[in-house]
Symmetry: C2
Subunit: 355 residues, 2 copies
C-alpha cells in the first residue's frame, strides 16, 4: 500500500513526522513517499501543487497531508497561493466527501469556551461536499456589471451550482455514516433563499427513501449556526454543501476548544482519500516543537479505517491517543493546570509507546 506524504508548511512537517512515526510502529508494510506542497511546493518548483506532487497523490492509495500556508505568501497572485494546492488536490482527485468529526474528549472538556454541560460528550460528524458549489462553479471573475442600478461599474461574481448526481452521492455518504452512528441526519440548506439549496433539499429528501432507518431533518444554515452554539449535542450527522460546510465545520470544531485534536478525511467515490488535521499551518509556532500532533495522528487512523482497510490498526491508534490523554500528557494548546506539558515529539513518542 502506497501513501503519499505531503507535509506542507508551518507546523505541517513536524506533525506529519509524528504521524509517520506512529504508522511505522504498527508493524505493517507501507510504502511512503514525500513531496512538497503549498508554500513548500512553490519554493521547490514555482507552484503550490507541483506536477510531480499531484502525480504522486494520484498514484497513491491514500494521501497524508499536513497543512499549508504562511503569511509570506499572502502577496502572491491567488493561483500561486498555498491553499490552492488543497483545492487542486480535491478537484483533481475527485475528493467530494469530506468527513469532519467534532468530538470533545472527556479529559479536555475544560478546553471549550462553552459551559461543560453544553458540550461534554459532544460527538458530531459533519459531512461536507468538497468538489462542487460556489468553490468551483463557472462563470466567475470580475467584469462590467451588466444590469441593475450599478450597471457599467466593475463587479465581482461567482456561480453557486449543484447537479443532481453531485447531491445524490454526498447524501448517500451522509446517510450511510448516520446508519453507523445515531441514525439522525440534519441536512443544512438555505432553501428559503437559494435555488441551489431548494434543489439540494429536494434531492436529499428523495435519497432519504433509501434509508428509512435514518431520521432526516432540514435546517437553514443560519439556524444551524445558532443551534451549534445553543445545543450542539442535539446533532448527530450534519450534511451540507461546500461553502456552508466550510463555515459550520470550523465552528463545530471550535466548540470543542481543542481543534488540535480533530482529524478529517476527504474521500473519492472508491474510498481513496486525503487525510489532514482540521487545524491550519500555524506559522507562528512552526519549528518550536510545541505543536499538537494528535489531529494528524488521528487523521492517519482515519486513513487506515477508510482507505487502507486496516480497521484494527485504526482502533489501536485511537486507543493509544485516548491512553496518552488519560496519562495526563498535553501539548501547550490543550494544557491545563494539573496535567503534564509535553512537546510535539514527546507526544508522538508517547502514542507509539501506548500502541
Amino acid at each position: 500500500m502506497k501513501i503519499a506524504i505531503l507535509p506542507g508548511d508551518g507546523i505541517g512537517p513536524e506533525i506529519v513526522t509524528q504521524a509517520v512515526k506512529v504508522l511505522n510502529a504498527l508493524g505493517e508494510k507501507f510504502e511512503m513517499e514525500t513531496a512538497p506542497v503549498g508554500g513548500a511546493g512553490y519554493e521547490a518548483s514555482g507552484h503550490p501543487l507541483p506536477d510531480a506532487t499531484l502525480k504522486l497523490a494520484k498514484d497513491a492509495d491514500a494521501v497524508l497531508f499536513g497543512a499549508v500556508g504562511d503569511w509570506k505568501y499572502d502577496t502572491l497572485d491567488r493561483p500561486l497561493r498555498p491553499e490552492q494546492a488543497i483545492l487542486g488536490l480535491r478537484k483533481n482527485l475527485g475528493l467530494f466527501g469530506n468527513l469532519r468529526p467534532a468530538i470533545l474528549y472527556p479529559e479536555l472538556a475544560g478546553a471549550s469556551t462553552l459551559k461543560p454541560e453544553v458540550v461534554s460528550g459532544l460527538d458530531i460528524l459533519i459531512v461536507r461536499e468538497l468538489t462542487g458549489d460556489i468553490y468551483f462553479g463557472q462563470p466567475r471573475g470580475v467584469r462590467e456589471c451588466p444590469d441593475g442600478p450599478f450597471k457599467g461599474q466593475r463587479e465581482g461574481f461567482d456561480t453557486m451550482r449543484y447537479a443532481e448526481g453531485e447531491i445524490r452521492r454526498i447524501a448517500h455518504v451522509a446517510f450511510q455514516a448516520a446508519q453507523k452512528r445515531g441514525k439522525r441526519l440534519t441536512s443544512v440548506d438555505k432553501a428559503n433563499v437559494l435555488e441551489t439549496f431548494q434543489f439540494w433539499k429536494d434531492i436529499v429528501t428523495d435519497v432519504h427513501k433509501e434509508y428509512p432507518d435514518v431520521a432526516l431533518d432540514h435546517m437553514y444554515v443560519d439556524n444551524a449556526a445558532m443551534q451549534l452554539v445553543r445545543a450542539p449535542k442535539k446533532f448527530d450527522v450534519i450534511v451540507t454543501g461546500n461553502m456552508f460546510g466550510d463555515i459550520l465545520s470550523d465552528a463545530a470544531a471550535m466548540l470543542t476548544g481543542s481543534i488540535g485534536m480533530l482529524p478529517s478525511a476527504s474521500l473519492d467515490a472508491n474510498n481513496k482519500g486525503l487525510y489532514e488535521p482540521s487545524h491550519g499551518s500555524a506559522p507562528d509556532i512552526a519549528g518550536k516543537g510545541i505543536a499538537n500532533p494528535l489531529a494528524t495522528i488521528l487523521s492517519a487512523a482515519m486513513m487506515l479505517r477508510f482507505s487502507l482497510n486496516k480497521v484494527e490498526q485504526a482502533d489501536r491508534i485511537e486507543s493509544a491517543v485516548k491512553k496518552v490523554l488519560a496519562q495526563g500528557l498535553r501539548t501547550a494548546d490543550i494544557y491545563e493546570a494539573g496535567t503534564t506539558k509535553v512537546g510535539t515529539e514527546e507526544m508522538g513518542n508517547a502514542v507509539v509507546a501506548a500502541l
Copy 2:
C-alpha cells in the same frame, strides 16, 4: 412622522403591541398605520407582501416590523411564503445596511451557553449588506447542467455578485459605525476562494483610506465563525456580505443566549429604515402572552435614533429597558432562579413605567 407598523405572524403582533405602547408613552406625536405582512398578508390578500402594505412602507418615514413565518405556510410555493415579504421589503425599499448589535447585558450573563469570562461584556456590531450578493443575483434557477461530469442532469444554480458601488456604500456605513465605537473594523470575506470576495476585500481596503482613524483587518468567514466562538470579545464592528452576514449575525446573537433582547435596523441611503427584532416568529409560543417584547422595544429605540432623529427618546427607552432588567423582571426565555417571571404585557408595562 409616519411609522408603518407591520406586526406579521406568530408572536409578531404581541410584541409589536408592546413596542407601540412604549412609543405612545413618550409624549411625541407619531402617525402610525398598521398593515398585514408575511402569512398575515397572504391570508388577507393572497401575497406575503400585499401592494398596500408595500405602499404604506414606502410612504412611511420608518417601518416597525414584528416577525413572519409559520409552519402552516411551509407547503406554499416559495414566492408566496412569509419570508419573501422580508426580502421584498429590503429590495423595494433599498435597505442595504443591516445593523445587528450582539450585546450581552450584565444581568443576563448566565443565559449564554458560553463561559461567563468569554462573553461577559460582549458588545459587537455586525454590519451586514442586505440587498445584494447571492440573495438577489441573477441568473438563478434549475436548469440542465451545461458542462462537466454531470452534463445533461438537472442542476440548481445561483449567482453571487457585488458591484463596486454596493461594496463602497456598505463599507462607509461600517467605517462610520466603527468611528463611533471602538474604532476597529473586521471585514469578513472568503477572498481565498471567491472572486466576489477578493473584489470585496480590495474595495473595502480602498475605502479604508478615508478612515485612517479606524483599524481595519480582514478575516476569512470560516475563521470568523471560529473566532466568534473562541474569543468573541476581540471583535468591535464586523462588516460582511448578505450571505455570510446572515450566518455570522445569528451565531453572534446566540452567543449572548438572549436573542429575545436583540434589535436590528435595516437602513437605506437616507437613513430611512425597517426595524425588527433579531429573533423569529416563534409560532410555538404565539398567543400565550409569554414572548419577550424587549428586542422589539429596543428596535423601536433604534428607529428613534437612526430614522426619526429623536436620540434622547431612544436613550430613554434603552435606559428603561436596563432598569426593568435591574429590577429583576424576566420573560420566560431569560428567566433564572431568583428573578421575577413576567409575561409579554407586564414586561411592556414595566418599560412604560420605567420611562
